[in-house]
């Protein structure tokens, strides 16, 4: 009995339009943290979670957000294939109650398939606030007797009722019949084809749906029918019927049937919904400013600038604090413990020089990432990202892309991997590939540590400017690369349409922002904790092998790096240390900094660990340090407002331990050349793996080769050009 509780007894699938709050509902149901987006097509992967209700264990699958099930785009195909697969016991269609008519189109399409369906009218609170009243009971009746539940997922309202309805539907799995009247002519054709399908398909409602899909020339269903014994005959019949009907209607059948569906929905909405006359909504007033003729673009630039000022300046004090905590108390405690258990010297070396130096060097940047992810989550949830796409579309067409590509590209500033997956929101393969090729040129957050370390080491208080320029260089090169790709291997498809929904602005709930930020940060820490930890250990081994190696240069790692190093000689950083960090950077860019710190700081034997301070003293120090960092951050935050300067510009930013070591190995010019190379070369194996998964080996190889070549050429131009201009 206890064992049966653990295995899922029910499987449900969540379907719905983009922006209907599907992901919020998924979070509310499963308690798992997922990204909650407020722009079309946030959810592109099939996510699963588990929830329980009255002794039932329910496995929830979150389908991609789609407007219909016509299987136009990848998202729609994924969603529909899953619904038809028979895997879900119940399909929950999430509809935005404030936009009922459009949202019901998908619900009606799912209803036509004949699978058990529960309709969740989400955002019921917003609808009520707008004075919209919907008769849920009557709506369920008109949709052929299905349960309709009002929910407000972001507040957790209506979840229990929804689960009860789901369980009830699962226990009574045969849904009542439902059919839209498509008119005498089409109905006759459906009946004819349905009869011929009867040998293979035993469920009448499903045969009817298949007949309808055949008439709509649906490729997937045609392929299925082709496999049947009498498949050819059926398809010939379908062809004849289509020919006859299209002459009759003088239009394509999918258009005619969609028209009928909307006709049905229109009548249905009239019966169940009372809606007050549109007022000038807050959204319109915000849009008047945000998408204003002259203000729109500068405002967008300002928002992006603000994000990075926040990430860099506000996070800096916390960065120093985390750094101090890790290299200070944590290292000393670890050393104390290791000494106490009389661990061998090599283990102490591995833990302190390998693991703490490597992972710690990455964890140091968590504060900055939290700020970045928080801001991105706010832009997404509030609905601004869709406006960014709207405002930027005309510009993006220059690069041969549309405004929607803006969203993955902006996400690329966070991490290239989810950004590559986010390209699935675009229906056109060519647009997706081009976007995926450009995403790595957006400086992802993993590259920020490199910029910060080098910026602080070489440019002092101008570090912020240097970092800003790096981001800008990435964007400029992306534009140039886009121009070249559009004219060569990826020419635009004239038939692709740009259809973008602009969701109403919503104040993101603190809960969803935190879930979102925590999820992303957790992923980063997870990466640092597993992949990077593993790499750190391997690296320590390489650095300390062959056994008894004295100088790192003579170690295995040093030898490999030294062999490759001459390739970077013309770029100004042909040392084995720099080369080594770039090699580990292939695995993940976070490793560039951690490798450097391991080589430089790990190599310094004077990493002086005080073991004399008491534990209480350390804890107090940590607390005080955090408070000081918070005060500093608050002052910086205020000084972002022009004209106010509380930080006092005459104080040099504090150096991170690595900085001085770097100043010995790089000149300012070779540092810039190094940064350009880091900006442009393959972001990480994970990105390449994502590209390979989405577009195949050919494009993965193309991406890797073009980015590395681009990085080499650009860094060469910077270094040699700099030398010519006399910046030695």
């Amino acid at each position: 009995m206890a064992a049966s509780v653990k295995t899922p007894t029910l499987t449900i699938a969540l379907a719905g339009n983009p922006n209907a709050g599907k992901t919020s509902l998924f979070n509310a149901l499963t308690g798992l943290n997922q990204g909650v987006g407020n722009f079309p097509g946030k959810t592109v992967e099939k996510k699963t979670g588990i929830c329980r209700r009255n002794g039932h264990t329910i496995s929830v699958v979150d389908l991609p957000g789609t407007y219909s099930l016509t299987a136009f785009s990848l998202d729609e195909r994924i969603a529909r294939d899953h619904i038809i697969s028979g895997e879900p016991d119940v399909v929950v269609c999430v509809a935005d109650a404030t936009n009922l008519e459009r949202n019901l189109y998908l619900a009606v399409q799912i209803r036509e398939i004949g699978v058990p369906l529960v309709l969740a009218l989400n955002m019921a609170d917003s609808a009520r606030a707008q004075g919209i009243r919907i008769d849920t009971k009557w709506l369920g009746q008109l949709l052929g007797g299905i349960p309709v539940v009002a929910t407000a997922a972001n507040r957790g309202h209506g979840i229990d009722e929804l689960l009860d309805a789901v369980v009830h539907s699962a226990e009574n799995p045969t849904p009542p019949t439902f059919a839209i009247d498509y008119g005498t002519a089409i109905e006759a054709a459906i009946a004819t084809i349905q009869t011929r399908l009867a040998d293979e398909i035993f469920v009448d409602s499903f045969a009817r749906w298949m007949a309808l899909m055949l008439l709509e020339s649906d490729q997937t269903v045609i392929e299925t029918v082709r496999e049947f014994d009498n498949g050819q005959a059926i398809l010939a019949e379908v062809g004849a019927q289509i020919g006859r009907l299209e002459t009759l209607f003088n239009d394509d059948l999918p258009i005619v049937s969609a028209d009928h569906r909307y006709g049905f929905i229109n009548g249905l909405v009239r019966q169940v919904q009372q809606k007050p006359v549109d007022r000038v909504a807050l959204t319109d007033r915000i849009d008047d400013i945000v998408t204003h003729r002259y203000l729109g673009l500068p405002l967008f630039m300002l928002v992006m600038l603000l994000v990075f000022r926040l990430v860099i300046d506000v996070a800096a004090p916390f960065l120093n604090w985390v750094d101090a905590v890790i290299t200070g108390p944590i290292a000393s405690w670890t050393a104390t413990i290791l000494t106490a258990i009389s661990a061998p010297a090599w283990l102490q070396s591995l833990v302190i020089e390998g693991i703490i130096a490597g992972v710690g060097g990455v964890l140091v940047f968590v504060p900055g990432l939290i700020v970045l992810y928080l801001f991105l989550a706010f832009l997404e949830d509030s609905g601004y990202l869709a406006r960014a796409a709207f405002v930027m579309d005309r510009l993006m067409t220059v690069v041969g892309l549309h405004g929607k590509a803006m969203i993955p590209l902006i996400l690329g500033f966070g991490c290239a991997v989810p950004a590559v997956y986010a390209t699935r929101t675009m229906s056109n393969r060519r647009d997706r590939i081009l976007t995926a090729l450009l995403i790595p040129l957006m400086s992802c957050s993993a590259r920020l540590p490199v910029y910060v370390v080098f910026g602080l080491a070489f440019f002092g208080r101008y570090a912020g400017t240097v970092i800003w320029i790096m981001y800008l260089v990435g964007i400029v090169i992306a534009v140039l690369a886009g121009l070249i790709f559009t004219r060569t291997i990826l020419q635009p498809d004239e038939n692709a349409a740009f259809v973008l929904e602009l969701p109403p602005y919503r104040m993101p709930t603190g809960r969803s922002l935190l879930l979102h930020t925590w999820g992303n940060t957790k992923e980063f820490v997870h990466k640092a904790g597993t992949l990077i930890l593993a790499v750190s250990v391997v690296l320590w081994l390489l650095l300390n092998l062959p056994l008894g190696v004295a100088e790192q240069e003579d170690s295995l790692f040093g030898q490999v790096s030294a062999t490759v190093a001459p390739v970077f000689e013309p770029l100004g950083f042909g040392t084995w240390e720099a080369t080594g960090s770039l090699i580990t950077g292939f695995i993940a860019k976070e490793l560039v900094v951690s490798t450097l710190s391991q080589i430089y700081i790990g190599a310094q034997d004077d990493l002086d660990i005080e073991t004399t301070t008491s534990f209480a003293q350390d804890v107090l120090e940590i607390m005080v340090g955090f408070w000081e960092a918070a005060v500093d951050a608050a002052r910086t935050l205020i000084s972002i407002i022009p004209g106010i300067d509380l930080t006092g510009n005459n104080t040099e930013p504090e150096d991170v331990a690595l900085s001085s070591a770097l100043r010995d190995s790089f000149t300012p010019l070779s540092a810039v050349s190094f940064l350009v190379f880091v900006l442009l070369y393959v972001p990480c194996v994970a990105t390449i793996a994502a590209v390979k998964q989405e577009f195949g080996k050919r494009w993965a190889v193309t991406a890797a080769v073009y980015q590395t070549a681009l990085a080499w050429v650009c860094a060469l131009l910077v270094y040699q050009g700099g030398l010519l201009l006399g910046y030695g």
Binding site: G296, R394, F498, V499
Partner: protein, 309 residues
């Protein structure tokens, strides 16, 4: 008595034909009358001399024949009787629209004023005949039908057919077969060179050619801002200015695109409003079915709409 009637019938025919040819306003050539009544010019001329002697017409040298007030009164009375009969034959006896003119021409002369008024009462005083021509009042003047000949409409203008001027039955049949009846909307989409036949679009669906001489018989009233204040303007969605609302009439483009539009709610008959244009002039934000959607200008061009403004 018999002679009297025959004379009357002949006189009436001539006077009515003169009125139909426009002799109330301007002189009509004798040859034109002869052709219309299918008689020789000599006998037509002879008849004109007789009518002139009776004071029913006035002959003007080199110009032609004009109706006098007396002549006009008779013509009006005959026309009234004839058109009343047309209404009766078409609406109450269910005879073919194309055939009633010829039939009523025979009945008009055997109709006394008393019978005509009884007929008018029975028909509840119709204002126009089935061909759209006005039925003159007993004491009123003989008005011309509204409109201009279709032949003079010009390319691209849309007009409503107001009336068909009297003609032969087979031409009525020809027009009837092509749906060119009073009330129909027509548009000239082309005119063959050297005053050749017109290409017509009828009721926005059928296209065919029509000879100039037949087009002369069809009277139309062009739609214009003045005459039809509510006449919607046909345009494409990209040209709908911010703040204005239109109704979707047709969604074009390739199959996939059209279907995507439909799924997003851009169905025929749906109301759509332009909200605003992006800073760089493209794309455009619309409001449809209660939500906001943005489309590029070149895509919006595929959507045909009608708008009041």
């Amino acid at each position: 008595m018999r002679t009297q009637t025959t004379t009357n019938e002949s006189t009436e025919m001539y006077l009515k034909t003169l009125a139909e040819l426009g002799a109330c306003e301007a002189p009509v050539a004798v040859a034109q009358i002869a052709e219309r009544l299918e008689v020789s010019t000599v006998s037509a001329n002879e008849m004109m001399q007789r009518l002139d002697a009776q004071g029913l017409v006035a002959r003007q040298r080199y110009k032609g024949i004009e109706l006098t007030d007396d002549g006009r009164a008779i013509a009006r009375s005959v026309t009234r009787r004839q058109r009343l009969w047309e209404c009766f034959l078409a609406d109450h006896l269910g005879l073919n629209w194309a055939s009633v003119y010829e039939l009523s021409c025979r009945l008009e002369h055997a109709t006394s004023n008393v019978l005509a008024e009884a007929l008018a009462n029975y028909l509840d005083h119709p204002e126009t005949c089935p061909h759209g021509l006005p039925i003159p009042e007993m004491s009123g003047k003989l008005e011309d039908a509204d409109g201009i000949p279709l032949a003079k409409l010009g390319i691209g203008r849309i007009a409503r057919i107001s009336a068909i001027t009297p003609t032969e039955t087979h031409i009525y049949v020809y027009l009837q077969e092509r749906g060119l009846l009073p009330g129909t909307t027509v548009k000239i989409t082309g005119i063959a060179p050297l005053d050749g036949p017109l290409t017509l679009l009828v009721d926005e669906s059928d296209t065919f050619m029509l000879g100039q001489n037949v087009a002369q018989l069809v009277l139309v009233v062009p739609f214009s801002a003045e005459s039809e204040p509510a006449a919607p303007i046909e345009t494409t969605l990209d040209r709908l200015r911010p703040g204005h609302t239109g109704t979707i009439r047709h969604v074009g483009g390739n199959g996939a695109l059209r279907q995507r539009y439909l799924e997003m709610g851009l169905t025929v008959g749906a109301e759509i409003k332009t909200e605003r244009v992006a800073p760089l002039g493209d794309p455009i934000e619309y409001r449809i079915k209660g939500y906001r959607l943005s489309l590029r200008r070149k895509d919006a061009r595929n959507v045909q709409i009608t708008t009041a403004s």
